[in-house]
Symmetry: C2
Subunit: 303 residues, 2 copies
């Protein structure tokens, strides 16, 4: 890959809530982007206005690119845009690097990496955390799997999108790390829900309890950031329940692939099923508390 952004051609696949601002940050850093998105959206136009050139397929996006970046919703989407009928694999040149930044199956990632390797193409899996705010501000955490030399080569590209950038291990390791992240996220969320529900069911002021316990050993990002939203009855998304559920399905599949029992995250997934049945799939993940409120017949709020 050329060292200078202006000489590096990137094919960017997937201009979603995350992908669109990430693409804009790459353009801002001076990279040339051919972009592909399945559908038309205002945010696609924003990327074109910032200098991106729209093409008609993942294959075309990969054509002539030094780096191909994909960030799509789920494992089948990733497989389709990278190794499907008009996938990037049919356009990408030998020596290029494919970086998949979706959150998908570690096992499928290893299979796609192997298919690309046969064509002389290296792959990195590089899922992110930090939400749309991190994508917009280029402060994403990026968890990478692949070879050290390829990681080093791509560091300037990552640095245009994120701040906490770590190579964890070989192909799939980035995805597995993201799944570890989602385990802690969802189980900590459940810990918060049970703590706040005991408080509420005991007629305590939920916000006072949050203030009293969040600075010590009970502290978590979930409690500090989502606890006050619960206390205020604010269920607007940050991260939506149905996307959390997709990630938990990946966790449960990955655990089953290696025959590892993860009962707490299994339980969190079940409670989110209750939340989805209540019609709250598109609320923020703090809506997990609603599964508890439903059984307790009481809301967990500040007084």
């Amino acid at each position: 890959m050329p060292a200078t952004p202006g000489q590096t051609q990137i094919g960017f696949i997937g201009l979603g809530i995350m992908g669109a601002p990430m693409a804009k940050n790459l353009l801002k850093a001076g990279y040339k982007l051919n972009v592909y998105n399945r559908s038309d959206r205002p945010r696609v136009q924003e990327v074109l206005d910032a200098g991106g050139i729209r093409v008609g397929s993942p294959q075309e996006a990969a054509d002539g690119a030094d780096v191909v970046i994909s960030i799509v919703t789920d494992t089948p989407d990733m497989e389709a845009v990278l190794i499907g009928e008009d996938g990037a694999i049919h356009g990408v040149k030998e020596g290029a690097v494919v970086i998949d930044m979706s959150t998908v199956s570690p096992k499928a990632t290893q299979e796609v990496a192997a298919a690309l390797k046969e064509k002389g193409v290296q792959m990195l899996d590089a899922p992110v955390s930090g939400g749309d705010v991190g994508a917009i501000n280029a402060t994403l955490s990026i968890m990478v799997g692949g070879e050290q030399a390829v990681f080093d080569e791509c560091m300037p590209v990552f640095a245009a999108m994120g701040t906490n950038i770590n190579l964890i291990g070989s192909n799939g390791a980035g995805q597995t790390t993201k799944l570890c992240n989602q385990i802690a996220v969802s189980v900590n969320n459940m810990g918060m829900a049970e703590a706040l529900m005991l408080a509420a069911a005991s007629d305590l002021d939920v916000q006072k309890v949050i203030d009293a316990i969040s600075g010590g050993a009970a502290g978590s990002w979930q409690l500090s950031n989502l606890g006050p939203r619960i206390a205020a009855g604010d269920f607007d998304p940050g991260f939506m329940v149905y996307l959390q559920q997709k990630d938990l399905r990946l966790v449960l599949q990955a655990a089953n692939d290696i025959k590892l029992a993860v009962p707490a995250v299994g339980m969190a997934h079940q409670f989110f099923n209750i939340v989805e049945r209540l019609g709250c799939s598109e609320e923020g993940t703090q809506a997990l508390i609603k599964a508890y409120e439903a059984q307790a017949g009481k809301e967990a709020r500040a007084k």
Copy 2:
């Protein structure tokens, strides 16, 4: 209660790992202490050397005291030293305040508070978190239940022992808040364990995964403070497993008292049973990972 520490007599019951340094901080602040401890220990002598006067029963400790403080292990101990045969209730004068800083049952607390009230004595429940380090440095978090005026009156006493001091509600509210704290502590611990176990069982370097995920939405006190100990194979206590189990029994009893289901903390309690069966009751709570290591046949360590 007199406003000046030098004129305030405190009866202090329970010179354990927490109680002894708390008593020393009260002496340092200028309070006069009559102290009671069941057994002889080097740390009892340290309190006497700092100016405490030893007496032979909780009743004697309470005799003439403006404030009686108890900090003992479990609910029956608290009941014994406050309302038992030679308990503080038989020595304490009308208008005094009893502050129980043990972690015990909210329901039993309300019963003891009612018994004391009949004698014209106010009670505050004021359990703490922050461990022996917080007790030594007078930086404990103190979660208080009782009346506002009594809380305000006792604030100088609390301020000699802690920093984050909150009145949550009426009698029992402090204990309930401490149980909420222990729910989040133990469930977050389980979230960490499942995250690190997926990493280890996938052959990742556990410390690298901790570094990659602890700064974001997966972050918690448990992950930042206990995760690196697990990765290093260090199971020395901070907070011992058997004491965590005692607190979880209180959580499960309190939840049953109000007929609230808290399945995640119930699961954490079960996993700690596995840890205790492995002979690790006196290790630190990070030993929860051993329940997972036992089923996975693999240790969660840095590489």
